[in-house]
Symmetry: C2
Subunit: 358 residues, 2 copies
Amino acid sequence: MTTNPPRRRATIHDVAKRAGVSITTVSHALNGKGVIADATRKRVVETAADLGYSPDAIARGLRSRRLGILGLVIRPLDTLGSYQPEGVDYFLRFAGAAAVEALDRGYGLALMRDPTVGNAPGIALAADGFIISDPVASDPVIELLTRNGIAVVAVGRDIERPEFTAWLGAGTHTNTDAVIQHFLERGATRIAIVTGEDNNSWNADSELTYRAWAAERGQTPLVYHQDEGLGEAGGRALAEQLLASGEPLPDAIYCLTGRHAAGMQAGLQAAGYLIPDDIMIASGSDSEQTRNSAPPITSIDLAPEATAKAAVTFLVELLDGVPDADPDADPDGDGAGDPVPPEVEYRIRDRASTRSMR
Amino acid sequence: MTTNPPRRRATIHDVAKRAGVSITTVSHALNGKGVIADATRKRVVETAADLGYSPDAIARGLRSRRLGILGLVIRPLDTLGSYQPEGVDYFLRFAGAAAVEALDRGYGLALMRDPTVGNAPGIALAADGFIISDPVASDPVIELLTRNGIAVVAVGRDIERPEFTAWLGAGTHTNTDAVIQHFLERGATRIAIVTGEDNNSWNADSELTYRAWAAERGQTPLVYHQDEGLGEAGGRALAEQLLASGEPLPDAIYCLTGRHAAGMQAGLQAAGYLIPDDIMIASGSDSEQTRNSAPPITSIDLAPEATAKAAVTFLVELLDGVPDADPDADPDGDGAGDPVPPEVEYRIRDRASTRSMR
DNA sequence: AAAAATACCCAAAACGTTTTACATGCCGGA
DNA sequence: TCCGGCATGTAAAACGTTTTGGGTATTTTT
């Protein structure tokens, strides 16, 4: 075989026997719980070290009902059905950063697929809490988890579950306004938006904000949708559709996904249009495609690292309680301060696909 | 509070009571184990469904000694100490793909930091098996895990632990030869190599292969090292160092990391050299930097997705046994076929940083 | 010197499963 | 009528912890 001789792990019993005490004493000594003579504690600790003992996380989890694992479900990947490298930039960075932050807080982070489909790997319900990125409307995952009493924090709201408030925003409203403002400052008069088709708050709220602006301004809203999974090809297809429609073209297009934006830009350029002179392009999500298109595409930096960090922080506070909560202020008397979703700063990356302000 | 009323999960006892049978019968009925009257089984299954019962993964894990979680430790990130997006392309893609593959095989995948430092989040030793990417020499993580009887699969070998054979290669030897060959075919006469400083097999074996070639060819080896963490700046610094040395410049440089390659190229260009005309550049790891430099840099596509998939497959076979193993061929009589590391195909991405063959 | 307090330690229960080994009732065969 | 066998079901142990509720010396107080 390839593996080394699998030696049995030392248990608390082994330590107890070797140190000549009861397992209770070992547990207490190691966890600093009971009241124990210093000499005994020292002896136990040393024996434990000798034996290389570390408490079994599973057994401990069974007693304490916490495993030390955070689950992460990225909904768009469920619908996309693939972790193709192109375009999922954001999610991979999000997952990596979430893992690191979880680790720093003493949790492991397990990436999981939609636990409601197929035979959920039971382990799903064993995680201490979940982060769910971009839930869809009335998300069944949130349903399943809350029904089982598992803490959930969402990134992006569940647009049909207003009572679920444990979410932190991706700044969708602000970001959309910022992009529109950006276009307007640069002389745009006819702004269009391209959202994806997933039924999540990023798509919905972006469109909502856009429509609100259009209504206020009295402009006919120009809203297009495209399957996220189609990527750049989808953006290009949309460009052709736009050109073929005979309608007057927009002079600024806001594509939520970076791949749509890159495809749209390429499609328009192929038809002889100049970016940004004829038409400006911006993306709602910075990605390799927006950074490396020609010209590079102005994008919202969704700050996946900061968002992940905030989400983990929020969830851990939900689980462990807010560390420095004011003990006097505890309105619901549940002994735990109510954590409030951290805010994340987003920035617009000003690139050549929108006119310079000079 | 933000969470829903945390309802207690139904246990096997609840099901047993409701169905009027013992918990043994419930367990058997649900797992298809014992011999039970069809009517009883049906009744049990139905009540279980009614109650929304699903066995607790932790309790089950305690009995069966398997949790359904695979651990992933990416060593270079431990030493790098950061999940910064730049340059870790490969690892994020690796982690994402590994997670998906694990999920497909009924496991969750938990990303973890070096479990030997600090107070390892006990959960580390609770994972069923581990994938460890790019172990360092005599890697303490492999040591810790095997000592505790936990299955480990490495990507890249432990260069000072020949008895550890459960690793799959990143094709380092072949890849290095391929790049050298690529350079030679394009007229290079003076080839240099730049490795990183981590003490892993990627660095070591690349250098070894290169030196072997140089020795055979009778060329003085031109070997440089640079801290991986320095990224593009490190590559640029090395370029300046090369220029300042007064030695005749190489006409082809193989940088293992994409960031070093990009920095090296930029540094040489800044000094007025033309790529590829004066000097050719290639990278041992395709990344955003190599794809998007000007000119784009010829690179080995390390196929992180395929490698991750192979690693997970290998590990799962180690844990569960090879599904379709020939029962007659079982030399060690341990009832489990010995899985053999899957092979992964790597390709060289031929780009403008090396001369065209026209 | 007896009672009360203190310091230290431990047995056993509990967490929710799976599995082993045995109990019960019924049938057919002798 | 008795017995072996079969079909069905169950009690209890085990997994490795943490925690509860004492228990036993030893010391202090009266």
